[in-house]
């Protein structure tokens, strides 16, 4: 299974230094370990959201904008492509990334076109809000 691992930062989070302090892993160690093992496949830093270019098609026209569409405070600061046997392995790898400590990581499973049954309308990425309440309460 392949996962896109998004590295998020928010303005409120403390900066993660390059030194491994307070139990925060060092990025160099993370890269060595998981790129070394082959579980992490491809990754890079991204330019800040101000430099993002949005592309949409509306009414048959391509609309290009000079900024992100996201309305949340988090900005995608980088990504890695993980090749992991299952979600738990991917979660374990993500949880070792320094930005999991001061920002956030989002895992997005790859969605190969061949998988027909994944086309169900319910399976929007991110799914339903977690903890939508206990049933029937």
């Amino acid at each position: 299974m392949r996962y896109l691992m998004l590295v998020l930062s928010t303005p409120d989070d403390a900066e993660v230094g390059s030194e491994g302090t307070d139990g925060v892993p060092r990025i160099e160690d993370w890269v060595d370990r998981h790129y070394g093992s082959g579980a992490a496949v491809l990754g890079d830093r991204l330019r800040p959201p101000e430099d993002a270019v949005g592309v949409r098609v509306r009414g048959g026209r391509v609309v290009v904008t000079d900024g992100p569409y996201s309305e949340t405070k988090e900005a995608i600061g980088g990504f890695d492509v993980l090749d992991a046997p299952d979600l738990d392995t991917a979660i374990a790898i993500a949880s070792e990334h320094p930005m999991a400590y001061a920002g956030a990581i989002e895992l997005r499973p790859f969605w190969p076109l061949e998988v027909a049954d994944a086309a169900g309308g319910d399976v929007t990425a991110g799914g339903e809000p977690a903890g939508a309440g206990k049933g029937g309460a």
């Binding site: 299974m1 996962y3 992991a84 046997p85 299952d86 979600l87 738990d88 392995t89 991917a90 979660i91 374990a92 949880s95 070792e96 895992l107 499973p109 969605w111 061949e114 998988v115 027909a116 049954d117 994944a118 169900g120 319910d122 399976v123 799914g127 339903e128 809000p129 977690a130 903890g131 939508a132 309440g133 206990k134 049933g135 029937g136 309460a137």
Partner: protein, 424 residues
């Protein structure tokens, strides 16, 4: 009922999860596992009457279910090979097909159950889906039964289960024990789901069972939860918090016959007829608690069980060791800072240091968002105000509690209290 039919029904209750877990592990497909398990039990009903009950019903059922799964996978593959597009789909099915051979690897029924439990309680699934899936997969309850217990239409529950299963596939959740780095949190996640199940049932025991929709079904959830947590202690014998949760459930559930009066009014701990408490279950709970505490790794469930144990050990409400209860609530609050725990602590504080101390602690909680609309906050306040000799304010607090209460048994209790205050 014939002996064979009784054996089949018995096996259904005790083996459903194992059969499902075995097929889920080898095929990675929960839907197929469910269908195959159902098929195996239907076959058992037919053939056991004719040929007798096999020596190992569980193994027989698992083998039968696996054979069915293999047949389905073969059929799917044959069908899909008919078109070029579908042929590409067949490739990923070949591996599970081989895995699903009935004689693959040593059978590991408990391992299958544990993997199934971790999967159903996976935090990447919505919480209500986890709860429903756990019930459906581990107890064999039908979708209709799960729906009744959670007071939702069957179609809603079916949709909830379908979504949870789709998400298992879409996100790549597999039937496995979590990697060591995640195991602690994941075990805690399992306990959250099981405790939530219990709470649904436990709350129903303080309700008039026959006046409230789904009362009987909801009450049964408490028994299901106790069984599942007991199972979890067998699967995870080295986790004292699992055993702590079992002790907590046993001690709370042992009071069930005393928690609702004959007129359907909730009986508080102080009012309960303690002769109705089930002594054998209390003894069982105390033993489990001692075993858990002996490990020396305390946690919130063990502390809550220790508090429940103090109540169960007191021959009368007046004999309760409130100083010890208060000390344990301090420990619990340090472990899990929660306004509900703080409210319970305020009750203990009032017992030890008087109603004024309790009222002061409650006033600190008035602004807690988590307690807005929670009837027990004004209800406890009313009780302490009455004890402090301020009946007018107590009546006002009772009216505030009645405005928000959403449980019939508690509503009747609050009304009775208000009537007693105003005729006084």
């Amino acid at each position: 009922m014939t002996a064979a039919a009784a054996a089949a029904e018995d096996a259904f209750r005790s083996e459903w999860g194992r059969v499902l877990g075995a097929v889920a592990r080898s095929t990675g497909d929960l839907d197929l596992a469910e269908e195959s398990a159902q098929e195996a039990f239907a076959t058992a009903l037919r053939t056991w009457v004719r040929d007798g009950v096999p020596d190992a019903p569980g193994a027989w059922l698992t083998t039968t279910a696996r054979r069915h799964a293999i047949d389905v996978l073969r059929r799917r593959r044959t069908e899909s090979e008919k078109t070029a597009t579908a042929a590409r789909l067949a490739a990923p099915l070949q591996a599970p097909l081989q895995d699903a051979a009935p004689d693959d690897g040593p059978s590991d029924p408990d391992g299958d159950l544990l993997r199934l439990l971790y999967t159903c309680c996976h935090p990447a699934l919505p919480l209500e889906g986890r709860v429903a899936l756990t019930l459906r997969s581990l107890t064999g309850m039908t979708t209709a039964q799960v729906a009744r217990a959670f007071l939702v239409p069957e179609a809603t529950m079916a949709q909830r289960l379908v979504r949870a299963k789709r998400r298992i596939r879409a996100t790549g959740i597999t039937f496995r024990v979590p990697p060591p780095a995640l195991r602690g949190e994941r075990t805690a996640d399992v306990l959250v789901v099981l405790y939530l199940l219990f709470t649904e049932g436990y709350d129903a025991w303080a309700e008039p069972a026959h006046d409230v929709a789904g009362g009987v079904e909801r009450r049964a959830l408490a028994d299901d939860a106790v069984r599942l947590v007991r199972l979890a202690t067998r699967l995870l014998p080295d986790e004292p918090e699992v055993r702590g949760l079992l002790a907590l459930l046993l001690l709370q559930h042992a009071r069930r016959d005393a928690r609702s009066g004959p007129d359907g009014t909730t009986s508080t701990l102080a009012e309960q007829d303690r002769s109705l408490w089930r002594d054998d279950e209390i003894a069982d709970g105390l033993r489990e608690l001692d075993t858990a505490l002996a490990v020396g790794r305390p946690g919130p469930y063990q502390v809550q069980a220790a508090i429940a144990a103090l109540h169960c050990r007191a021959p009368t409400a007046a004999a309760t060791d409130w100083a010890e209860v208060l000390a344990l609530y301090d420990v619990l609050l340090a472990m899990t800072p929660s306004p509900v725990v703080a409210l319970n602590r305020a009750v203990a504080l009032a017992e030890v240091h008087g109603p004024a101390a309790g009222l002061a602690a409650i006033d600190d909680l008035a602004e807690e968002p988590a307690l807005v609309g929670y009837h027990l906050l004004p209800a406890v306040r009313a009780e302490l105000l009455a004890r402090a000799g301020r009946p007018d304010q107590a009546a006002a607090a009772l009216r505030a509690a009645l405005d928000v209460v959403d449980r019939e048994g508690d509503r009747r209790l609050l009304r009775r209290r208000l009537a007693a205050l105003t005729t006084w």
